[in-house]
């Protein structure tokens, strides 16, 4: 259902029989606050609540529904417009080599998420393999290798190769030889100010031409979400988004800005550190949690 703070805001409004502009203003403020606390972009929050205010005060109600239901519908529709109506799965052509590349800001959860996706698809009968193309972070090789071992999934890396593009190419070649259907490519963390790393990401993508590039976003990411996602989109074609660390108290509102910036849907969410802590994105559930 709707988040409980939104529900209580609506109860205040619709205890009254007459639409009171003051009460609507108060409702709008409550919705604004809930969305801001959830880390939704400030400008987006203003746009959403402006729409809610206009429609809540609209004299012409759609037939057969109450004013309260109408306002709820407006809030939901506005969020659904950004989050998508239903979940979109990863496209994997069985029997073919599907290369999926993970990118994202430092510490967002790329390596851990690859471990989870490997387990997820291996369980579903897809031959999965993982490649470490992170040439920078100390111990990245060991981290991914240990995660791959947990799910008994083939792993490839080369600690002596210092070029990320070469790592990706070699790894892809090795995985193809093994007949792996879903090949997950791990890359180093990077942010929008690191121009040479952004270029490196583009070079990797141009070289191995992944089926899909997944942007991994930390669920705690704040008002920077939109501009950071934009920088990734400008450099490469982002196919989908995964939001991590939603097992904590963060609401993940930055995700909305990321979707808006990349035009890519969220496909999975991360709910913990274990290899089973992943689930397909559910827009209704996500919106409900957002509204607190």
């Amino acid at each position: 259902g709707l988040g409980k703070s939104l529900n209580s805001a609506l109860k205040k409004l619709f205890g009254a029989n007459v639409i009171d502009e003051e009460l609507v203003k108060e409702l709008v403020k409550d919705i604004q606050r809930a969305l801001l606390v959830a880390d939704v972009d400030v400008n987006l929050v203003m746009a959403i609540t402006k729409r809610v205010e206009e429609q809540a005060l609209d004299e012409n109600l759609p037939r057969g529904i109450s004013r309260r239901e109408h306002v709820i519908r407006v809030v939901w529709d506005t969020l659904a417009f950004f989050l998508g109506e239903k979940a979109v799965p990863l496209t994997i052509n069985p029997g073919k080599q599907n290369l999926v590349m993970m990118v994202g800001i430092q510490g967002s959860g790329k390596t851990t998420t690859i471990g989870k996706l490997a387990r997820y698809y291996q369980k579903r009968g897809i031959k999965t393999g993982v490649i470490c193309a992170d040439n920078f972070r100390p111990g990245a090789y060991n981290q991914l290798m240990q995660l791959a071992e947990k799910s008994n999934v083939p792993f490839w890396g080369d600690e002596d190769e210092k070029d990320a593009v070469k790592l990706a190419k070699k790894g892809f070649k090795e995985m193809k030889k093994k007949g792996i259907e879903l090949i997950l490519l791990d890359t180093s963390g990077r942010h929008k100010e690191e121009k040479s790393l952004i270029k490196e990401m583009r070079d990797i993508s141009k070289s191995v031409k992944p089926q899909e590039i997944i942007l991994v976003i930390d669920g705690t990411l704040g008002q920077q979400a939109g501009v950071q996602a934009e920088a990734f989109r400008k450099a490469t074609q982002i196919g989908s988004i995964i939001i991590t660390k939603l097992d904590g108290s963060a609401k993940g509102g930055g995700a909305i800005s990321a979707i808006a910036a990349t035009k890519a849907p969220i496909k999975f969410i991360g709910l913990g550190e274990g290899m089973d802590a992943i689930e397909p994105f559910n827009p209704t559930k996500f919106a409900g949690r957002l509204l607190g």
Partner: protein, 283 residues
Amino acid sequence: KELSDKNLEDSVWELQMVLIQNDVAVEVAEQICELTKEKILGDRAGRLENLSKVFKKAIYESVLEILTPEHPLDPLEFASEKKQKGEVTTILFVGVNGTGKTTTLAKMANLFKKNGFSVVIAAGDTFRAGSIEQLERHAERLGIRVIKQDYGADAAAIAFDAIAHAKAKHIDIVLIDSAGRMQSNKNLLDEMKKIARVADPDIKLFIGDALAGNDVLSQAKEFHKAIEIDGAVLTKVDADPSGGAALSIAYVTGRPVVFVGVGQEYDDIEQFDPEWFAQRLIG
């Protein structure tokens, strides 16, 4: 002319939005603006025309005040004084997952070493894949010893061993790494409390991500409640965030932000500059 309550409301709201857009937690922005507004109304100092200017100046001063520590913490100075007494300085690094604890520990190890201190590191993250190897790689490059055990071992015991080792070998600094943990996970908070209790560190540093939004408030609040933080380090400031996280952390803990992380290399650590941040948040 007296300040009209209604016009002040507009300035208050506007500046509140500026702070929120700069990643200051909503609750912190609201409280700072509310307290500053009351102060202005109490002073009745400004003229109606200069209202937004007066309020903005007052907010800037409030922000600067929150960011400027009453009791500054300089880990190098602290360690120096302890070294003169022949004592070991123990520093514990805590924070949620992926904020940069291990990297910050390595940067500070480098900093201490460059300033003539001997350092030993405790591999206190025995949970996450590759955490021990990551620390070992850093330590290897810096020429520093790591006290470690296997994955799954008791972090508090490893910290204890490292401190005993430092005392026996007359090593100046013990840096204790710990696993990332969500502030909503009671078991992991309890584990952290145990590490702090057993190791009894001189300095407990909360490592916060400058890119985090409202969640950083609850992180700092819960970590402070659990083990009483002495200071914070704000990482990934090179990613060009507006830095509001610094304000939320300082506000809810009353403790200073000591350093900022400005990149992934060992030298990418700087002193926290309250005025620079205040300018960025309000200027």
